[in-house]
């Protein structure tokens, strides 16, 4: 790994200043995407600005929403009693990311900033209609994910928290790649207080997306039977050594049914 200048500021404003000053700076959270990427030489920043000094971890459960600080680890979200009660599907999703050691380091902010096409959190954010809070603004999930590893974030922008509206019911199911544990396909289903459904799919395409035909059907009846007439089309889905587009299209239907069965 190439060397870099290491910084650990304790304030968001100082972190942004350091980033603006750096020739090629990168924020570091849990490091469980960034460190492996730097080891491979795919990123060679001159400066690493470690956000762990900001001490921005923790969860607040309100009457209508759950706010998770950006530095909260996957393990902390999975174990949080408030999240488990308010949005059990979200806690279960966090508890299924990678393995226990990854969950002790990886953070929600890092996962969303990275926007890996097979990551789990993007599906929850998009389906639940989360809002990404940054040092500068609030970005709705529908505008945040802009494609393969890309987001609406500016270079020096820092995610500070993520706010999830509490739904009536929601659930997640993923078919993990047995080697990487990332999603081959993951589907998050939501029924909001008014009965409207939202369905988000990760792992299957170049980035997380909503499955409109399923949303229409599930808004009428939030049950697996409602999906009976829907055949997901493979066009535009990923084809690689792990599975063809047709295989992934089929997995979307299967995972959607499992997510509905798990929804609480």
């Amino acid at each position: 790994m190439e060397n870099f200048n290491y910084h650990r500021p304790s304030k968001v404003a100082d972190a942004v200043k350091l980033m603006k000053k750096a020739k090629d700076g990168k924020y570091l959270a849990g490091g469980h995407t960034l460190v492996p990427t730097m080891k491979q030489g795919l990123a060679t920043p001159t400066d690493i600005i470690d956000l762990s000094g900001l001490k921005n971890a923790g969860v607040k459960v309100g009457a209508k929403s759950v706010v998770i600080q950006a530095g909260t680890t996957h393990a902390a979200v999975a174990a949080d009693k408030g999240v488990r009660k308010a949005i059990p599907g979200l806690a279960a999703l966090a508890g299924g990311i990678g393995d226990p050691h990854v969950r002790h380091k990886g953070t929600i902010g890092g996962s969303l900033a990275n926007n890996d096409p097979a990551a789990d959190y993007p599906a929850a954010c998009l389906a639940l209609g989360a809002t990404i809070h940054t040092n500068a603004r609030k970005i709705p999930a529908d505008k945040y994910f802009t494609g393969l590893f890309s987001t609406a974030l500016k270079d020096d922008e820092i995610i500070t928290a993520v706010e999830f509206p509490i739904p009536k019911k929601s659930g997640y199911a993923k078919f993990p790649n047995p080697a990487s544990l990332y999603a081959m396909v993951g589907v998050y289903v939501v029924q909001d207080g008014k009965g409207a459904a939202r369905v988000a799919v990760t792992g299957a395409g170049p980035g997380v997306f909503r499955q409109a035909d399923m949303e229409v059907a599930l808004s009428k009846s939030f049950k697996a039977d409602a999906l009976a007439g829907i055949a997901v089309k493979p066009r535009g889905l990923n084809s690689d050594i792990h599975g063809s587009a047709a295989y992934r299209a089929h997995l979307i239907s299967v995972m959607a049914r499992r997510a509905l069965a798990a929804a609480k």
Partner: protein, 154 residues
């Protein structure tokens, strides 16, 4: 160069590192504690698992500088007064290792698992709990047995 201070196996240590120095490099090369292994170096295998502030992490994917002020426990820190930790003893008794390369990480992960899930562990919980640890030799059967028995004695 950043200076780091941490407590490793109960002892205060200090050292100069580069920004890019990994926690596992600091432990093995600066402190000479070679019980922690590097298997894959790509965050997959878990041979490098140590506890940082009481939580199992992969030290090959953690920067040493980011652990400034932390309390670290490595496999060398488990035995007390020349007596093996119950989990180590259980791996020996149940033949939970062959070449032994994965063993330090397996044991550190198993101890972490017991802390989180308690002493009564079923097979499913153990297998899920060891998802981040790869063994090329044993086929896992005796590792699971060793963890189950070791947990009860902790």
């Amino acid at each position: 160069m950043p200076t780091v201070s941490m407590t490793v196996n109960g002892k205060a240590v200090k050292g100069e590192v580069e920004g890019r120095t990994l926690l596992v490099e600091f432990i093995r090369e600066h402190l000479g504690l070679t019980g922690t292994h590097v298997g894959c170096d790509t965050s997959q295998c878990g041979a490098c698992v140590v506890h940082v502030d009481g939580k199992a992490v992969k030290s090959c994917s953690t920067l040493a500088a980011a652990c400034d002020g932390a309390a670290v426990t490595t496999i060398e820190g488990l035995a007390k007064d020349g007596k093996l930790h119950p989990m180590q003893e259980s791996f020996r008794e149940h033949h939970g290792l062959q070449c032994g390369f994965c063993t330090p990480g397996m044991i550190m992960s198993a101890v972490d698992l017991v802390k989180r899930e308690g002493k009564k562990l079923d097979e499913d919980t153990i297998r899920h709990g060891l998802e981040g640890n790869i063994c090329r030799c044993t086929g896992y059967q005796n590792i699971v047995k060793a963890v189950q028995a070791g947990a009860e004695k902790m």
